[in-house]
């Protein structure tokens, strides 16, 4: 029975709708996305982020942790440390930040697709590096591990925001909370906080990671074809959203501290 | 398959005893202590040498001689079919070892105790004889780095197909499955440091094939010496001597 249970996996496929159906859908959908007044699949307006649910202390065994749910995107981040570095590192008078992002096998609609995001770990590191006061934990490492439980679009921004919340929960000193928001460009429209479906049709995307109260951008990526005024507009949109998200995160932390400890 | 036509020409138009065009160039990587490009026909490799320098891993330090390390890697685009394979597969490890042992034999390691010499070879294009090309490139790079050597090591391969000994096999000839002898020699000392063969071959024919490969090595050694001399002349010229 061993062969049947797990050891040799036979080739399987997901019974997704036929190509023909897909094609039909696509022909229907793409023009809609380009229209001026199409409605987003989840009924939001273009400048509306998904409702965010944030909670700290999701994982008891970690020094700090946070759970974030933006629509269908669900993420847990645990922070461990400051603790001894895993690798034998040279002496350093500043601490090290070690980041890792992984996906569950069921995160996306097709099983096991989450492994495509190898660069997310280094992008998470870059986004947080500027905010964390590394000199406050010399010679040691703070590990930030993120697990995307479900991927529903804008995964990396959610991971980054959630990670900074987890760092705050762990009591790691930071200059400011790091918040991140992305914008998709679909035709002439700018759509904030896109879901997976919108991301797969996007013409361009902009992700900004900022420290809202310092008005500083720690990470920024942009792809697709953009004119300068459009970049202006998208950046402003993102920065405003970052500011608001920062407020939500702050109130989440405030609630966590005011709530009576178990 | 016919590898030698009745007119005595090989698939790429060479005579059986003819080597492919070789080209060597010193100083391909500006940041390295020594570097070289070596081409044998379509086979093209880059070698870079770092060192002698402080030993990175203290545990490997040797008090009486230098530590020689070598890593062989193939570029994704180096073969006809594009492939992405993880680094450190068995073949790479084996070739790294062969190159390391061959170069170790000629470097005067006892002159540089407690230090480390890194040799990195990168295959840009593979068309048979990468092993030999890597050794030749490494020799040039070591010489460029000014690392004391007993002699120049050069390498060349020879095979035996259609009852004809063939010098310097290309990829098609190499993959035909016939005997393939790779030889590395110290040309001035006339010593063989590397000899690899992986097929059956009668003793008398083997001697012929090996002799052919040794001749090839000697020709390459002459060429490498010329390249180095030319390089030295240019350096002299630049210094205005």
């Amino acid at each position: 029975m061993a062969g049947k249970s797990s050891s040799i996996a036979p080739t399987t496929y997901s019974p997704s709708p036929t190509l023909k159906v897909k094609k039909k859908q696509q022909q229907q959908q793409q023009p809609i996305f380009k229209d001026v007044d199409w409605v987003r699949p989840d009924g939001r307006s273009f400048q509306h982020c998904r409702p965010a649910f944030l909670r700290t202390g999701a994982v008891n065994s970690a020094s700090g942790s946070a759970y974030a749910e933006f629509g269908n995107t669900k993420v847990i981040v645990s922070v461990f440390g400051p603790r001894e570095s895993k690798k034998a590192m040279m002496f350093s008078d500043i601490g090290r930040l070690n980041c890792n992002v992984s996906y569950t096998t069921f995160a996306s609609s097709i099983r096991g697709q989450g492994s495509e995001h190898k660069e997310f770990s280094s992008m998470l590191h870059k986004a947080l590096e500027g905010a964390v006061m590394l000199e406050s934990f010399p010679k040691t490492t703070v590990d930030v591990f993120a697990l995307v439980l479900e991927s529903g679009g804008s995964d990396l921004p959610v991971v980054i925001s959630c990670a900074s919340l987890a760092l705050a929960d762990a009591g790691i000193m930071m200059f400011d909370l790091v918040t991140s928001v992305s914008v998709s460009c679909l035709g002439t429209n700018l759509v904030i906080d896109p879901i997976t479906e919108e991301e797969s049709y996007q013409d361009g995307s902009l992700m900004i990671t900022s420290m809202p109260s310092r008005n500083e951008v720690t990470q920024l990526t942009l792809s697709g074809d953009w004119s300068t005024p459009k970049i202006h507009e998208a950046m402003q949109l993102c920065l405003d959203a970052c500011l608001k998200l920062g407020e939500i995160m702050r109130s989440c932390l405030r609630e966590a501290t005011s709530a009576p400890h178990e | 398959m016919e590898f030698v036509s009745p007119e005595g020409l090989r698939l790429d138009g060479r005579r059986p005893m003819e080597m492919r065009q070789i080209r060597g160039e010193v100083g391909a990587v500006s940041k390295a202590d020594g570097s070289a490009i070596f081409e044998m026909g379509n086979t093209k490799v880059i070698a870079a040498v770092y060192g002698p320098r402080e030993v990175q891993n203290r545990g490997q330090q040797m008090s009486d001689q230098a530590l020689v390390r070598c890593e062989y890697s193939m570029a994704n685009f180096s073969t006809g079919d594009r492939m992405r394979k993880p680094k450190g597969d068995r073949r790479s490890i084996e070739i790294s070892l062969v190159i390391r042992q061959t170069m170790e034999a000629c470097i005067m390691t006892h002159l540089m105790p407690r230090s480390q010499i890194d040799i990195f070879v990168q295959v840009l294009q593979a068309d048979g004889g990468t092993r030999s090309a890597c050794i030749n490139a490494a020799t040039l790079a070591l010489a460029d780095a000014g690392i004391p050597m007993r002699d120049l090591v050069t390498s060349c391969s020879a095979g035996y197909l259609n009852s004809t000994p063939l010098l310097d096999l290309n990829y098609i000839e190499d993959s035909a499955g016939g005997p393939d002898v790779t030889v590395g020699i110290l040309s001035k000392l006339d010593k063989v440091t590397l000899l690899q063969m992986d097929a059956k071959l009668p003793m008398d024919i083997f001697e012929n094939v090996m002799q052919l490969a040794v001749e090839g090595c000697k020709a390459i050694a002459n060429y490498i010496r010329e390249v180095l001399l030319e390089n030295t002349k240019q350096l002299e010229h630049r210094r205005g001597i």
Binding site: A9, P10, T12, P15, S61, N100, T104, A107, F145 | -
Partner: protein, 311 residues
């Protein structure tokens, strides 16, 4: 808290927390002698347990199970495969247990935790058990129900269980989440397209009859026979501690895991090394504790299913 034993005068002046860290075993033994555990539980009591079904929207069946702090997320994805030639009318279940780096300070990315493959194997054994000795406990799921077209197509159920927070009794929580995910499983409706591939059909398409009759009408739920539940106990001296936390597991060594199905039959008994088992009566006691626990868990699961159906 008075400390009276030989650990010396030093211990007498120590803070409770420091004592707990320095002399964990004695800290526990002091508690145990009072028949109470540091988290205020009686010895035989399990931690609060909750089950939430349908936690993962993108999966065909999913569940989140919590026992105390230990949290497990299980999700099942159904894919189509060609059945093997020796069992053409059976589907297949692949079970994988993951311990991502977020769950515990002991796990680092890239280096899988030691326990993970062990628990994977145990889960596979229990859920798909075809053990010779237990002729009647032939698995929770009837593999024949996973067949679509004999010899041509069958379901491959990928069950992935992620440990989100590891605080002891991992196997119990993992099994609970797996069982819950199976009871939440809703097999997608599929039909055969012109190219002979199995494709999913949506409800509207079935209504509108635009596509052929679905292959698996009326076979969208699995019948679960004899669902298994587990309880892990620690045997320490004469004490039996049910449902240990991670701290307890690390301090006291002898662990016993008992798996019973709802009818009270023993499905599996697992004792990985540790100290010798002093009394057979201890085993009996463990089984008795498990029997109680199975009733609790069964109720929790039934409530969770009822809750979901209300929604």
């Amino acid at each position: 808290m008075g400390v009276t034993d030989v650990s010396g005068d030093m211990a007498g002046e120590m803070e409770v927390d420091a004592f707990r860290r320095l002399f964990p075993l004695r800290f526990y033994e002091r508690h145990l002698s009072e028949s109470i555990r540091p988290d205020a539980r009686p010895l035989g009591k399990s931690r609060d347990t909750t089950v939430a079904l349908g936690a993962v929207a993108s999966a065909d069946g999913s569940a989140l199970a919590k026992i105390g702090h230990t949290t497990m997320l299980a999700a099942i994805k159904m894919e189509v495969m060609t059945p093997t030639s020796d069992s053409p009318d059976e589907g297949c279940i692949a079970i994988d247990f993951h311990m991502p780096a977020i769950c515990s300070p002991l796990v680092r990315p890239g280096r899988p935790a030691e326990e993970a493959p062990v628990i994977s194997k145990q889960l596979t054994d229990v859920i798909l058990s075809f053990d010779g000795c237990w002729l009647f406990s032939s698995g929770m799921v009837n593999m024949k129900e996973l067949c679509l077209i004999p010899g041509k197509a069958a379901w491959m159920a990928y069950l992935d269980i992620y440990c989100l927070d590891a605080d002891g009794a991992l196997f119990d929580a993992a099994l609970l989440s797996a069982v819950a995910a199976f009871s939440h499983l809703h097999i997608p409706a599929v039909s055969l397209n012109d190219e002979g591939r199995v494709v999913s059909v949506s409800e509207e398409q079935v209504e509108g009859n635009s596509i052929k009759e679905p292959l698996n009408k009326g076979k969208r739920k699995l019948t679960l026979s004899s669902t298994p539940f587990a309880l892990t106990c620690i045997l320490h001296k004469k004490y039996i501690l049910a449902d240990p936390t991670a701290e307890e597991e690390s301090i006291m060594e002898t662990l016993v895991t008992v798996v019973l199905d709802v009818t009270g039959r023993l499905v599996s008994f697992y004792k990985p090394g540790g100290a010798f088992l002093a009394y057979t009566s201890a085993v009996q006691d463990c089984i008795a504790l498990t029997r109680q626990r199975v009733k609790e868990l069964q109720k929790i699961l039934i409530d969770a299913i009822a809750d979901m159906e209300l929604d």
